[in-house]
Amino acid sequence: MAGCWSGPPSLSDWHAMDVRLDAIRPRSLLQELAAPARTRPAVLRIDLSALHDIDSTGVAALRAASRRLSRSGIAVELHGASPEVARVLADTPEPNPPELPREPGALERVGRATLAAWRGLLTLADMTLEAMQGAVAAVMGRRTFSWRDVAEQLELMGADALPIAATMSFLLGLVLDFQTWVQMHHYGTESVVLEFVGIGMARGFAPFIVAILLASRTAPAIAAELSTMEMRQENDVLRVMGISPVRHLVVPRLFAITLVAPALSLIATTSGILGGLLVTVWLDPHWMSALETMLREMTLSDLWLGTVKSVLFGWVIGLASAFTGLHSGYGALSIGIAATRAAVASIFFVMIVDSIVTTLWTLAQ
């Protein structure tokens, strides 16, 4: 019988209580032993003589019960076991798990989280710097850079997203024009609605809707792909060949998104204006004059602002998704987590960049 289950031998018999078990019912053993334990004996002697056999579930139930009782100060003694039962009890290994680490306090948790965030920021800065160096080296004609990878990414990010971007912005232009037209009609200023739609699409709505599309479609795809490669050790293969995964995988994606984001933004601007124009033609008999007003008031700087924004959005989305993909861990959940984080982080940083650029641009006017 396992010696560690017995109570201290100095305890006298009048402190002891006997319990006979004719079967071990793992689900109810603790309740069965609760009644005798209520009298608080120093030793609970469990008679196993009626037990014909026992399996590991039975041993686990007995051990769990005796551990619980010993925590209440009641020692458990097993006796009367048949040779077969005694053999199983003796042969079942006694686990010796390491002590669980101490649960950190609130202050320690905050400290650790701050340190982790700081390290993450440094890693992101390092990755950004390396990506910039890689981009310069690629432009300078470094032989090992593959422009074919950029072309593949252009197709994935741009060509495949084009119909969605065009449709979304067309509908946005249509809705914007409709809703604004209804309000402006009360004041007789509906002739400026198309101008509002055009300038709004060029300066902010089109780059933003393209950014949302890239953040929800491209960013999770990049993060999931890089995370899968990380988990399958494909990136380790690159590292031990002396090839940086940032230069080999991230830089082509950044090149592609730098081209795709403004291109899609310009197409989305055009498509949004067409959506607005459709509503204007339908509602306004003087739609031609509204169109002329829009074309007269819209300037290249409106398109320039939208283009600059979309390039910045593209970089933010590319870097955020690459970072989450390359630092997502190795577990089965990591790919999903990386994809989700990439989308959320991309949208969050796009909003921040949008606010900063719009504020700076407005102040500069």
């Binding site: 494909e234 002396g242 940086s244």
Partner: protein, 254 residues
């Protein structure tokens, strides 16, 4: 044999987070030898291998490859040193977006300025050597585990590196595939003069391939020597490994 050894570990401590798995590791590997690293599961063999190939910076000590401190050098210099190394990972780690042939051509395309036709030929030769030249256009998902392992070895060896690391090369392989891989590793040593470092559980591999075996246990190097000498060792940890018995817990061990 070089003056400083192809690989030299000096008082290395390595692990994850803040807990070292291995400490005080001193190890030297020379050209033209096959060194097997053995130990119980979780003893730190693969962790040691990751430190030797630049994937896990040691908490203390230095890892020298080809006489240069791997973790003290700049990123680009480290790349140059690592380009002389081939690694076969336990799970093959073939690039899933590339065909078998592209996988094997990849190191040549990235690390040399050879014409693509030459790299293509080189890759086909390496695939033929390992008996997988019939599948160049297949994707890694379309080939068996044994074939994938052979393709991964072809990729690791396509540029004839001076040093090859293999993590469990025969794990999950049938005896025939394991023998093919074993023969290839011996050829790399004998014909190419490469040093081969094998992390393995397969005692048959240790007995037939290794020139030297290093036993990892209790957070460090427990014993080192030829397989036949270790087989006669009285150390209970070493005995248990060679006789395939449960490894006794060593004080301070894993």
């Amino acid at each position: 044999m070089t003056a400083s050894g192809l690989v030299e570990l000096r008082d290395v401590a390595v692990g994850y987070a803040e807990s070292p798995v291995l400490t005080g590791i001193d190890l030297r590997i020379d050209a033209g030898e096959i060194v097997c690293i053995i130990g119980a599961s979780g003893s730190g063999k693969s962790t040691l291998l990751r430190a030797m190939v630049g994937l896990l910076e040691p908490a203390a000590g230095a890892v020298h490859l080809f006489g240069q401190d791997l973790y003290a050098m700049r990123r680009r210099s480290r790349g140059r040193v690592l380009s002389r190394v081939g690694v076969l990972f336990q799970n093959d780690a073939l690039f899933s977006s590339m065909s078998v042939l592209d996988n094997v051509m990849f190191p040549g395309r990235k690390l040399t300025d050879l014409p693509d036709e030459v790299i293509h030929e080189l890759a086909l030769i390496e695939l033929a050597r390992l008996g997988v030249d019939a599948l160049p256009e297949r994707m890694p998902q379309e080939i068996s585990g044994g074939q994938a392992k052979r393709v991964a070895l072809a990729r690791a060896n396509v540029l004839a590196p001076e040093l090859i690391f293999c993590d469990e090369p025969t794990a999950s392989l049938d005896p025939i595939n394991a023998a093919v891989l074993g023969r290839e590793l011996m050829r790399l040593r004998d014909d190419q003069g490469s040093a081969v470092v094998l992390v393995t559980h397969n005692m048959e591999v240790v007995r037939t391939l290794s020139d030297r075996t290093v036993v990892i246990a209790a957070g460090g190097i427990r014993a080192a020597g030829t397989a036949s000498a270790l087989e006669r060792s009285e150390d209970p940890q070493v005995k248990a490994l060679f006789r395939m018995e449960p490894v006794p817990r060593a004080p301070g061990g894993e």
